[in-house]
Point group: C2
Chain length 369, copies 2
């Protein structure tokens, strides 16, 4: 039974836990649209299968698939992965799925944000996006979780929380006039406070260079644990990413979180720079209303775009010269977890990476005070 609630998580004593807290499972969607994924989506499907298989070694995985691709997805995904029918416009479960919130009495609910395809008719990536906007509700129906329908456009990739009162986000995305133009910075903070149940909003500036989501934080910076984050980095001052990462670093070093802590910031060197090839761009359909994929464009590649599973960190392999160092760094940051690399270029070609295509379901837990 899924009720749609009129209140908000803060009022009801629910909070979004950190991704590093234990999970009950993970949700994904299935890529298929040929105007975003090359060669009819087949290489991306193989990449998603590898991601699902890797996460399934850590926690239960469910994949939502539109009817016409169901049999194909069921055939390609491992038997341990649950496949259910869910229509969507594309496959970014982080951004279209629910943000789960928990209380300390075993409750689990979902926030269903409004979605406009990363900017609606002013810079959004495709039109229409009605099926995407309905995904969160379908996930919540299957999970049997009550739902908050937040009156506010937000994507899950635009926020990272520590579960202890702090959210990190970016001005480039949340203050963009193509999201919630009627809301001031203060009003946006209030909404984050109510729907995530946080006290402190840590504002970074811009996201990764050329990130078409308008700078989602999850491609730039992620929590390792409360008070500790990992930031994509380059030492090349001629790279536009340098100033972005430098600015984020400085903001983090001067910020205090909701618990009064200073941040410990780990730098994770970026791959590439990576650019789309002629071959890759040629495999994508042109379509009215969809942002074209052109050859030679620099992609917003980042190792920070990993999934932080209960037992495994699943990170993208993107650049043979840098992958080894990136995985070693993640192993050092997550000593209690296995770090698994999965080829991520085919996901990156579609505009995101492993974190963008996943959404964790936190474990509902009862806590003694």
């Amino acid at each position: 039974m899924t009720r749609t609630l009129d209140s908000d998580p803060r009022r009801d004593g629910y909070r979004m836990p950190g991704e590093f807290e234990p999970h009950a499972g993970c949700w994904m969607l299935w890529p298929e649209r040929p105007d975003n994924w090359r060669l009819g989506g087949k290489p991306a499907q193989a990449a998603f299968v590898a991601v699902a298989a890797a996460i399934a070694g850590s926690e239960p995985v469910s994949v939502g698939v539109a009817a016409a691709q169901y049999a194909n997805a069921r055939r390609l995904l491992p038997p341990a992965v649950r496949v259910v029918e869910i229509s969507s416009n594309d496959a970014w479960m982080r951004d279209v799925g629910p943000t789960f919130v928990v209380n300390d009495r075993g409750g689990l609910r979902g926030v269903d944000w409004k979605f406009n395809a990363w900017g609606g008719l002013e810079g959004g990536l495709y039109f229409p996006w009605d099926k995407d906007d309905a995904v969160a509700q379908r996930v919540l129906e299957i999970e049997g979780c009550d739902r908050y329908r937040a009156p506010f456009i937000l994507e899950g990739g635009a926020i990272h929380v520590d579960g202890q009162g702090t959210v990190i986000t970016t001005e480039e995305c949340l203050l963009n006039r193509n999201r919630n133009p009627g809301l001031s910075r203060g009003e946006i903070e209030q909404r984050l406070q109510r729907y995530l149940n946080v006290e402190t909003v840590v504002w970074l500036g811009r996201g990764v260079h050329l990130d078409e989501t308008d700078g989602h934080v999850d491609n730039l910076c992620a929590y390792v644990k409360p008070g500790e984050v990992v930031l994509t980095w380059t030492d090349d001052r001629s790279d536009p990413q340098y100033e972005i990462s430098r600015d984020a670093y400085e903001r983090l070093m001067t910020a205090r979180d909701a618990c009064g802590r200073r941040f410990k910031v780990h730098k994770l060197v970026q791959p590439g720079p990576l650019h789309t090839t002629d071959d890759e761009a040629a495999g994508v359909d042109a379509a009215a209303g969809t942002k074209p994929r052109e050859a030679g464009v620099r992609m917003a590649a980042s190792y920070v775009n990993f999934y932080l599973g209960t037992k495994r960190v699943v990170a993208p392999l993107l650049d043979s010269k840098r992958d080894g160092a990136a995985l070693r760094k993640l192993k050092a940051l997550f000593p209690g977890r296995e770090v698994v690399g999965v080829p991520g270029r085919e996901i990156l070609l579609g505009g995101g990476n492993i974190h963008c295509i996943t959404q964790q379901v936190p474990a509902a837990r009862t806590r003694r005070k």
Copy 2:
């Protein structure tokens, strides 16, 4: 996690329980096709909503809905009913859903029969039926149940079991050459024995007069409890139904079930006869490949086509002159349950009734020997 198993329920110690045994829930589908349901399916949708609401008072109900009707179904169904996306060709969950089987150690699995729309290209009711044939798997994925894919065409409405080794079925349906023409009566019995884990097949002759399913038993005769059945009946010797019910009665009175019992047979007077009106037929689209709905045709109306829920019996109201007596009879037969009548004519117009549009999920239980 849903595995497809190569064995069969008998070999694995699973059996189909009687519908009168406790349920974990009930599955339904959502009617929409305008070539079977009049007026764009709206009156049928209202009837399905009433059925779902009535059963939801007894046990959890899940309704599968194709993507395009999801928002409408979610709006119309009560909040307590779970709505999930499942594509289908029509809305007969009894016939296209899984037949659940249990063991005595808390196990729950599903049999996914092959489906050919009640006769395939030789008298079937519509073409194609590929989405229907895929419904059972989707239900089992959501339920997390392992699956037996039975190499055999069968609809759930063609069988009733006592959970103690007996299945009742009809020759008209199971021996029809439009189902499994390569199999003899004995071979069909063997398959029922393996997939339902029964010993004894009680063969009735024909189903209800003009039943377009080729005589499904669930419109004719249903278990009240082991050894005791309810049979649709008329005392009018000029009605073609008289000979059918009389023959079934005699076969039942001479049969023994797997436990060696004789049957106690309760007669339940039929409604009507009921015929489609001009208005009703006029509201249905003509479509290539679909059996037309014509005015003045007698419908296979029966009060036996009820849902036997854990706490409630949900029965169709079909005939103001007979409904009262039918409900009283059901109340007498099921003294431990509430008997709820729901208007059934709009379901009957589509070719079946409440039992046909529902599929119970038995409660998984651990039994001491």
